[in-house]
Amino acid sequence: MSTTSSTGIQVARVGDIDDGEALRVPPEATGHDDAVAVFHDAGAYYALDDTCSHGRASLSEGWIEDGEVECPLHSARFCLESGQPQCMPATTAVRAHRVEVRDGGLWLHLGPGEGAAG
């Protein structure tokens, strides 16, 4: 399904992820050391490491609203853009990645110094 290229990894097509939903991209698809959650919030796409920095919950199952995702386990919130924690109990950021919308596809570019993209 995912196509690796120097221009990113295609993880989905526009329309595959409803507004307010997220897609979990497993590590096998990216070569990254964590799954990546790709979020759709109010028309924009974002990507963060999927595992919450507080525990072991999957952020792709979190609540997405106003540029933030709330962890399904203990409700820590993270900025979708930067991965920075917005409230307790999380105190460390999750890594942020970039999503490019191109040719009707969603292309994931792993954050600086990470994984196998490029």
């Binding site: 199952e61 609540w63 203990h74 307790m88 109990p89 105190t91």
Partner: protein, 405 residues
């Protein structure tokens, strides 16, 4: 702020650590000292009756904060250091070894201790409680396949412990005087489904009160039940009948204590320089102490604002969770506050939600394995959005749609 040079926190559980986090986030740059009666880095308690007891989590997996958090945020942890007294007039504390510690503000975050079974034989060595890391490890070592385990109290910790014990191959009996525990908080339907699940999983569930523990000559323990000729034979007993708030220091300091240290919205006690947070505190005007994880966290945040004299964060609806038999219960608010309830989903499927309404608003929600409903419900409660019962019951409609402007 510069006049406040040191804040001393008694206890180092979630509430204590949350106070420190929030104080630093608010820019407090004075000293912060945590006094912990326990040894080692502070840890989180919920896993003690879940993954730790199942043998799936080690101590380093359940730390509240990593070691560098203390150095980065300049929080001094004085582990294995018991505070013996709070001295409001002198402005400070006295440690068990007699040392005096000055502090401008004192935060009591002392939690609670498990209530002992108030019956003859209730202090038997075969009786376990579950509050600390050591309690959990001691119990885990004894939950061996075939062991007869009697759990007294089917509330949150008792129910979780019984579920772990049966998963580990123990023969489990769960005894509670209440036929359907938790019904007041989560409503009859959810409480009934949760409690019924114990039986399906192979736990012998008994409605009754333990009135005496005896030692038969052949070993083990016998639990006698009040008014019943039936008794329970066990190799070990776990008692989960609630906690007593650790109010000793507050009482000795002359603070207002009434089923917990009584606090106002900014967690102030009856003394202006002393604050109380977490399981030990009770909000004045609230009937009960909210002995839950998130209440400890939010109380810590509120105390930081109170200490620094900042406007308080909006208190949201209460929330807690509990894991048993591979399912997750979550609840928002208290179902007893509702005048009518609406069911989403079918209890027979195992996963469903009950929403509690009052005057056309949502006031409570309880769900088994339906996290997204709970997340939406919480926001609907907090934002006071008017709701329509038929629409809430309609499974084809996403609750999130109600939040869209």
């Amino acid at each position: 702020m510069s006049s406040r040079r040191r804040i001393a926190v008694v206890g180092a559980g979630l509430a204590a650590v949350s106070v420190c986090d929030a104080l630093r986030a608010q820019g407090y740059d004075g000293e912060l000292v945590l006094f912990s009666a326990e040894s080692g880095l502070p840890y989180d308690r919920p896993p003690l009756s879940k993954d730790v007891l199942l043998g799936k989590a080690r101590r380093e997996d359940v730390l509240l904060r990593p070691e560098q958090w203390y150095t980065e945020r300049l929080v001094t942890l004085r582990e294995a250091t018991v505070v013996r007294a709070v001295r409001p007039h002198e402005g400070g504390l006295e440690l068990a070894d007699g040392t005096a510690v000055d502090a401008d503000r004192v935060v009591l975050a002392t939690g609670g201790t498990p209530r002992a079974l108030p019956v003859p034989g209730g202090d038997d060595p075969a009786v376990h409680v579950l509050r600390t890391w050591e309690d959990s490890v001691r119990l885990r070592e004894r939950l061996l396949p075939g062991t007869r385990v009697a759990v007294v109290g089917a509330g949150l910790i008792g129910a979780e412990t019984a579920a772990v014990a049966v998963a580990r191959g123990c023969r489990v009996t769960l005894v509670d005087p209440v036929a359907v525990p938790l019904a007041g908080v989560v409503g009859d339907t959810v409480a009934g489904a949760l409690h019924g699940r114990h039986t399906t999983e192979g736990i012998d569930v008994i409605t009754g009160g333990v009135c005496r523990l005896e030692h038969p000559p052949g070993g083990g323990v016998v639990l006698r039940l009040a008014g019943q000729c039936r008794s329970v034979q066990a190799d070990l007993v776990v008692v989960g009948i609630g906690i007593r708030p650790a109010t000793g220091l507050a009482e000795a300091a002359g603070l207002h204590v009434d089923d917990g240290v009584v606090v106002g919205p900014g967690q102030h006690t009856s003394h202006p320089n002393i604050f109380a947070v977490g399981d030990v505190a009770r909000r004045s005007g609230h009937r009960v102490r909210h002995e839950h994880w998130e209440a400890a966290l939010r109380g810590g945040e509120a105390a930081a604002h109170g200490i620094l004299g900042r406007p308080l964060p909006e208190p949201g609806a209460s929330w807690f969770w509990s894991d048993r038999h591979g399912s997750r219960l979550e609840a928002v608010g208290t179902m007893a506050d509702a005048e009518r309830t609406v069911l989403r989903g079918t209890p027979d499927s195992g996963a469903f939600t009950v929403l509690g309404l009052r005057d056309g608003r949502l006031v409570a929600a309880a769900a088994i394995d339906r996290g997204p409903d709970i997340r939406a419900a919480r926001r609907i409660v907090d934002r006071g959005i008017p709701v329509d019962a038929a629409r809430l019951a309609d499974e084809s409609a996403d609750l999130r749609a109600l939040l869209k402007r």
